[in-house]
């Protein structure tokens, strides 16, 4: 038996090709000290763009270094901007907020009450892959799932600080206040709201 899973096994792990027993075995065993680097290298091999991956952010999303910026990128290449701005704000969204739409997922008696909850599905505008789903009460702000302290992680956990230090502070409000400003410039807010909203509302209407 290998002391640690070799590269091919890790590749299968990422691609979901390992059987559960092997996955469980890997989970229950200690990691080799450079597992993160190995993992990152494999991820880098799998994508077709050149930017260096700093941290995987989900099944299809990565935080990458692009020039001096750190941005969120989908494996299709679509970019979502600064990692400190919630990437969901730039995604396509389909909101299930009626009985009929909820019943497509949870049919019959399992169907939740749309007055109490809605399901928001986020899709990549580049490839159409479903990236995330959130289930929240209607009107709840879009959740920001994960804002990692990249520098803290690289410096204190990996012991390999990145050349530039950037504080991990939530900048999503910049995007939303920009939207608010744009909206307030419109003469009739209600119509404008429909015409120029976030992709969220667009998809909601279309759906």
């Amino acid at each position: 038996m290998d002391k640690y899973p070799p590269k091919e096994v890790l590749k299968d792990l990422i691609e979901g090709k390992l059987d559960w027993r092997r996955v469980k075995q890997i989970m229950s065993s200690p990691k080799d000290a450079d597992r993160f680097e190995k993992y990152l290298a494999l991820m880098q091999e799998r994508v077709r763009w050149p930017e260096k991956i700093l941290l995987p952010l989900g099944e299809h999303l990565y935080i990458v270094a692009k020039g001096k910026q750190r941005i969120v990128k989908c494996d299709c290449g679509c970019e979502f901007g600064d990692w400190r701005e919630n990437w969901k704000l730039k995604a396509l969204v389909y909101v299930r907020n009626t009985r009929q739409k909820l019943a497509e997922i949870y049919p019959g008696p399992r169907s939740p009450d749309p007055a109490w909850c809605e399901i928001r599905e986020f899709y990549c505008p580049g490839c159409g892959t479903q990236l995330e789903v959130e289930n929240v009460p209607p009107g709840y702000p879009v959740t920001f799932d994960f804002l990692p302290d990249i520098d803290g992680f690289y410096a204190q956990w990996l012991g390999k600080p990145l050349s530039e230090q950037v504080s991990a502070e939530d900048k999503s409000v910049k995007v939303t206040s920009q939207w608010a400003r744009e909206l307030s410039r419109q003469p009739t807010p209600k119509v404008a709201r429909n015409a120029r909203t976030s992709s969220a509302a667009r998809a909601k209407r279309a759906g």
Partner: protein, 717 residues
């Protein structure tokens, strides 16, 4: 093999493990011979036969395919294997269809939370990311619901919708199932619907012209809790029948060689059954059971009532207790990550064996033991077959306890240099320790794990180790017995020369017996009057009678005379509202008066007070009987444990093979090396010494000595 002095084989027992198939041959004079061969999972009869030939060769007899009649004198042949375990673990059993009470079709998917972590280490239980449901034994599309309902009192509140059973059968058979299992709720109280469904299913198949076996849960395991019952009935169809095919193949080879008696196998609760036994799933766990039963038998033979058994093999360390000659049962064991309704002798197991991996946590540098182990392939580092992770036996080798040239009698050459190099690199250097000191430290750790296991089993029951004699066995038991008992106050500590095959020996010591149990709802109120007690007695008698009828029918079908079968009536009694019950053997066959019921309850209270303390008794809560059983036993020939004359303490000079350096407790010792087979009853050997046998090594540390007694036991004092 016709000369008078040749051993006449009387009993052969075989314990086919995951890697090795051990055979123990016993002759009429009580002489043993141990055979070993690799297990052959495709056709276990091949490994069985090879191991048998090996055992005979120790007696200087060639088996010659059995044609020479060497096997003719055999009276008992017992086989326990791992086919069922492997079939379950690898989920490669028969294609089974299930008909279940409508609304419960997702039972396998929902299962029980416990099954999501069953068999996990403590660390994995804590880390929920590792929790996972089992893949259903029967895929959802082969599960069909049938409308019916029997309530908890056994009353049919919804009749069985027969057409649904008919349709389901048709669909299942058309889908190509190889067996049909049927489970309805509360069938353990009233099996009428299950029985009717089985009849309908059989009739429907007859009409279709394609018949497969039908199994109903009330026949396989009529006990409460439907998931464990479901597992039990499905396993019978899914995994037990393939096992039967293996067993038949072995039996055929024996019969072809002139053996006249049927092949038997071991059941989880310590009984033997013919390979034609209908509920063969009860043999799902049988290997480790043998050791405990063997220890009880030895104890009975030499007069030891309280025993702790410690079985250290390659992958696990199994601890069991014999208290006052009795072995407690668990009734819902988990196995292969499934829970079963099956009485099983209580054995606590921890992943600490000779092959257990030793690793350092790369972050904390903490030594981590197991939980997995190297098995026989690739084996420990010293096997030099590709494993690079040090194991416990590599430490034993490094310290000089294991002889690299006499492992498995020299069949496997061990590479000590490689073990040393890998251990130094992986463990000693990162810890900044001397390699011997580190190896010693690892052994102390694993010994501590095993010691805790022993301690917790004994203390959790409220017993004290002072009252117990510990018996160590398994291939690695004698090597570690001094270590894992260090600091325990025991009445005595011993092993036997055939420790490596002791589980197989244990199977030979057991009677032919089956258990029949079913769940009941009986309550004796604290101040019950005689009529109320007689009503309970009537229910109890009826339940026993039903079980006995089945028991006798099965035993007679297996060829035993009615008179040879001994029946023991059992009730599982608990105080009202408590969760644990006690197995109580009834003093009478039938309860005919309220006084006799009182006597049964008094027996329960007495046992309860002995298991816990007398102050814990709680008769004010009344008494519940939620399960009754009948044990049907037929006695059989057993190995003879004979007292032998004692020789002087000085071992014969031919037994001393030489000296070897052994590292122990921080320093090097010159240890005397003895050959186990040359030692005689009465011999005493002072530590530091190593006693070597082809399949085990006994280590005697300093300030300890061992004594061979007249019964063939080896005491460490």
């Amino acid at each position: 093999m016709t000369s008078e002095s040749s051993p006449q084989p009387m009993i052969v027992t075989c314990d086919a493990g995951g890697t090795m198939t051990d055979i123990l041959l016993v002759d009429a004079a009580g002489r043993f011979s141990v055979g070993k061969a690799s297990t052959t999972p495709q056709d276990e009869s091949a490994g069985f036969w090879e191991s048998l030939e090996d055992a005979f060769s120790q007696w200087g007899v060639t088996l010659d395919g059995g044609a020479n009649g060497a096997l003719k004198p055999l009276k008992v042949s017992i086989y326990t294997g791992t086919t069922m375990l492997n079939t379950l673990l690898q989920r490669r059993g028969k294609k089974v269809g299930l008909i279940i009470t409508k609304g419960f079709e997702d039972s396998f998917v929902v299962e029980r939370g416990m099954q999501a972590v069953a068999g996990y280490s403590y660390a994995d239980r804590l880390h929920t990311v590792t929790h996972a449901h089992n893949a259903p034994l029967v895929p959802r599309k082969l599960v069909k619901g049938a409308t019916e309902r029997i309530d908890l009192f056994g009353k049919a509140v919804i009749p069985l919708y027969e057409h649904e059973v008919r349709d389901a059968t048709k669909e299942l058979v058309e889908a190509g199932v190889e067996a049909i299992a049927i489970l309805f709720l509360f069938s353990y109280i009233n099996p009428a619907h299950e029985q009717a469904a089985a009849r309908i299913a059989r009739a429907a198949m007859k009409k279709m012209g394609r018949e497969v076996p039908v199994f109903i849960s009330s026949e396989v395991s009529p006990t409460i809790r439907e998931l464990a019952r479901l597992n039990s009935v499905v396993i019978q169809a899914y995994a037990a029948e393939p096992v039967r095919e293996q067993l038949f193949r072995i039996e055929k080879r024996l019969h072809d060689a002139g053996v006249q008696y049927p092949l038997q196998t071991m059941l989880a609760y310590g009984g033997l059954a013919s390979v034609r036994y209908p509920r063969l799933y009860e043999s799902v766990v049988s290997g480790p059971v043998g050791g405990l039963l063997g220890a009880r038998f030895l104890g009975e033979s030499v007069g030891i009532n309280n025993l702790i058994t410690a079985d250290m093999g390659g992958t696990s360390f199994d601890v069991g207790l014999v208290t006052e000659g009795k072995i407690p049962l668990v009734r819902e064991p988990e196995f292969a990550r499934l829970m079963f309704n099956l009485p099983m002798v209580t054995i606590n197991s921890v992943g600490a064996g000779a092959g257990t991996y030793i690793r350092l946590d790369p972050m904390t540098k903490r030594i981590m033991l197991g939980p997995e182990s190297a098995g026989a392939d690739p084996g420990p580092v010293c096997y030099d077959r590709g494993n690079e992770i040090p194991t416990v036996v590599d430490c034993d080798l490094i310290l000089g306890v294991v002889n690299p040239d006499y492992y498995l009698g020299g069949k496997v050459k061990l590479n000590k240099e490689k073990a040393l190099a890998r251990f130094r690199e992986e463990i000693a250097q990162p810890l900044g320790l001397d390699v011997y000191e580190a190896a010693q430290g690892v052994l102390e750790l694993i010994n501590a794990v095993m010691r805790d296991q022993i301690r917790s089993l004994v203390l959790a029951k409220g017993y004290s180790t002072v009252d117990y004699t510990l018996m160590a066995f398994g291939g690695a038991g004698p090597m570690h017995m001094a270590g894992f008992t260090e600091g325990l106050t025991l009445k005595g500590l011993m092993t036997v020369p055939y420790a490596a095959a002791f589980s197989a020996f244990g199977c030979a010591t057991v009677d032919y017996s089956h258990r029949y149990q079913r769940s009941t709802h009986m309550f004796v109120a604290p101040a019950a009057e005689a009529p109320a007690k007689l009503a309970v007695a009537k229910d109890l008698n009826r339940a026993w009678e039903d079980l006995e009828t089945r028991a006798l029918a099965e035993m007679m079908a297996e060829g035993f005379a009615r008179d040879a079968v001994h029946l023991q009536q059992v009730a599982f009694i608990r105080y009202g509202g408590q969760l644990d019950d006690v197995e109580v053997f009834s003093p009478v066959r039938r309860i005919e008066s309220s006084e006799q019921l009182d006597a049964l309850i008094a027996r329960f209270e007495d046992l309860y007070a002995r298991i816990y303390v007398s102050g814990a008794r709680f008769p004010e809560a009344g008494f519940q009987i939620l399960e009754v059983a009948v044990v049907a036993t037929v006695s059989k020939v057993k190995p003879l444990i004979e007292r032998r004359p004692l020789s002087p303490p000085e071992p014969p000079s031919r037994a001393l093979k030489g000296m070897r350096q052994v590292y122990h407790h921080g320093r090097r010792h010159q240890a005397s090396i003895f050959e186990m087979g040359e030692l005689e009853p009465g011999n005493v050997i002072e530590g530091v010494a190593v006693i070597e046998a082809p399949n085990t090594t006994l280590f005697v540390p300093e300030r300890k000595r061992i004594r061979f007694d007249e019964w063939g036991l080896i005491w460490m004092e």
